[in-house]
Symmetry: C2
Subunit: 332 residues, 2 copies
DNA sequence: AATCTTCCAGAGAGCGCTCTCACAGCTTCG
DNA sequence: CGAAGCTGTGAGAGCGCTCTCTGGAAGATT
């Protein structure tokens, strides 16, 4: 690799001073057109690209932002399109803003402190924490240290932490209301873990609608895995054999429920209607294809990016979710 | 945020020169124990962390490495655990080596050049290109420019490019042999795109085994999507209604095939056995659960990382795949 | 005892860039 | 016609760090 040209070389070739070359490159308006032209030509000819390290050293900016995933949830990476969507959205915005995305997987004790050190020492201009557990202490710590932080998902111990979240409550309400509209009467729920905001909120949505309709709520709690969905469904069938619909707090559990129902000889949607949440790819492949609530993950990534970049008000943002109706809730 | 302490401060507090403080921090052995002690104490007391920009400026190293995903394949992110696994493996190794992972999604014309510029200008110490298309020109360009590059998946226009790949041929052979062992006689294949190395190699594996067994190969080509799997399966059934097994080049297409078979009234595995490739989560949820070939994605990530860091011989590495037997290939 | 090594610490240069400040050339106005 | 105001350019000081080079003290060798 031939030596990279420096600003000095560019200036020399353009016949100007380093300062002026710098001005042109950083888009200052106070430069005479022909000089600007000359510098730009020199840049092109030499294939000059600024040395980020040197620039950072003086500007005190890193021009890069960390996106932190807690390792446990990263396990789900493969099953859950949320992360992929967020990454895509974030990248798009960063590309426009010319920032780099530094991906960090935290979770173990060591890596956790590593993220903290890394972030609190000017290596990045901000941090996006994509934590599923609202109780993750990392965001608060970083915020206290003065690092711009944005959370994906409402943090439970939110002081003033800015966050972007999906409308989990609204999505759940919409889903359950849909079941009522389709004539279902005894609607059970398979809730998610109650230490995760998504788990709590989706159950809240379910309860809200049933309370309004004067119906009894029947709840089993799972842990967002398929297996837990199967187990929860079995419990629900044992508790209330008459149920004719289930709202699962995520698709994976809904898929598990589908299996339990099949094993129990119940037809879907004939005997029991099923709704999930997330709209993972497998939902549309399921037998029958699953009605579910779609989340605007890419949009979420874009918001996260713009907020951490300061392009957007730092208040909480809640993005709307959308009901996707498929076979599993066809009218009985 | 209070001002970060500099090396100068640390040195002053420890009562030594900047140079000596630097030596201690960078682990030079040639420092007297009590001085080393004093410096370390000062570092702790001040919470000092080296400024990476300043360090990079002089060392010409960035201590970070880019992981480039081509945008088109990123779409698959959600469906394909490969990327998640690779990311996890890479992160683990980088954490140990104290390198940062800069994630870049390329694919559009603009972002493509952006990656090139970014990488060829010392912002990163190396690049891992996770391209699905073996014909991606990026790795070769970077290599020519002197940037350490490692490809995930064998590049077709491989000059001397180091790469890490899965044993696609071997995995496919194993899968098809498994079908023969289970007594299947007319084994069709749903191939992947023939401009992708994975698509080509898996078909090769299939052909190898059938050639050896003197059986006729029956092939339909899909594009790795579920829908194409369904369509391909329909064609195969029309062409050869007698077939009793199908090898699909990935799980998504196998899932699609399952649907076509169900629609055609064929039972699986009663009438037709089905094997997939990848072992995506949905494979085990399928009805019936899918026999498939598992890939060591995390291991792949680790190899990629170690190779780009120069901790490993830069030759090609091919990782073994593993057959996972489930319901879909039970003996007829 | 004198010289040669060896070892450790400090001085200082400089990585490539931005940004403040000073200044030269020009217009504008009293 | 000279003072004042602009505008555009250059000079130069660092940003925080590493690393070479030098020197002095201590130990080894003759």
């Amino acid at each position: 690799m031939r030596a990279r040209p420096t600003l000095e070389k560019v200036a020399a070739r353009a016949g100007v001073s380093r300062a002026t070359a710098s001005r042109v490159i950083n888009g200052s308006t106070r430069v005479a057109p022909q000089i600007r032209e000359a510098v730009n030509r020199a840049v092109d000819e030499l294939g000059y690209v600024p040395n980020q390290a040197a620039r950072s050293l003086v500007t005190q900016r890193a021009d890069s932002i960390a996106l932190v995933f807690p390792e446990p949830s990263t396990r789900v990476f493969s099953d859950d399109p949320t992360f992929g969507g967020i990454i895509r959205g974030v990248s798009m915005e960063f590309e426009e803003a010319d920032k780099q995305l530094v991906l960090m997987l935290a979770g173990t004790e060591g890596s956790y402190r590593r993220v903290e050190r890394y972030a609190t020492n000017g290596h990045v201009d901000g941090v996006i924490v994509a934590s599923m557990h609202g109780s993750d202490p990392l965001p608060a710590i970083l915020a206290r240290r003065g690092v711009p932080v944005v959370c994906s998902g409402r943090p439970t111990m939110a002081g003033e932490l800015p966050y972007v979240d999906m409308d989990n409550v609204g999505g759940a309400e919409r889903a359950v209301r849909h079941l009522l509209e389709r004539g279902r009467r005894r609607i059970a729920a398979i809730a998610g873990p109650q230490d995760m905001v998504a788990g709590i909120d989706r159950l809240t949505g379910y309860r809200n609608v049933l309370r309004d309709s004067d119906r009894r709520s029947i709840v089993a709690v799972g842990d967002f895995t398929r297996e837990s969905g199967t187990a929860a469904m079995r419990h629900l069938l044992a508790d209330d054999p008459e149920l004719d619909a289930v709202f699962a707090a995520n698709d994976l559990m809904a898929l598990g429920a589908l299996r339990a129902l099949r094993d129990a000889g119940r037809s879907v949607p004939g005997d029991v209607a099923v709704v999930g949440f997330d709209d993972i790819p497998a939902a549309s492949y399921a037998e029958p294809p699953l009605t579910t609530v779609r989340q605007p993950t890419e949009e979420m990534g874009r918001w996260l990016a713009r907020m951490v970049l300061g392009l957007e008000e730092r208040g909480p943002v809640v993005l709307p979710t959308e009901l996707v109706v498929r076979e599993s809730t066809r009218a009985a």
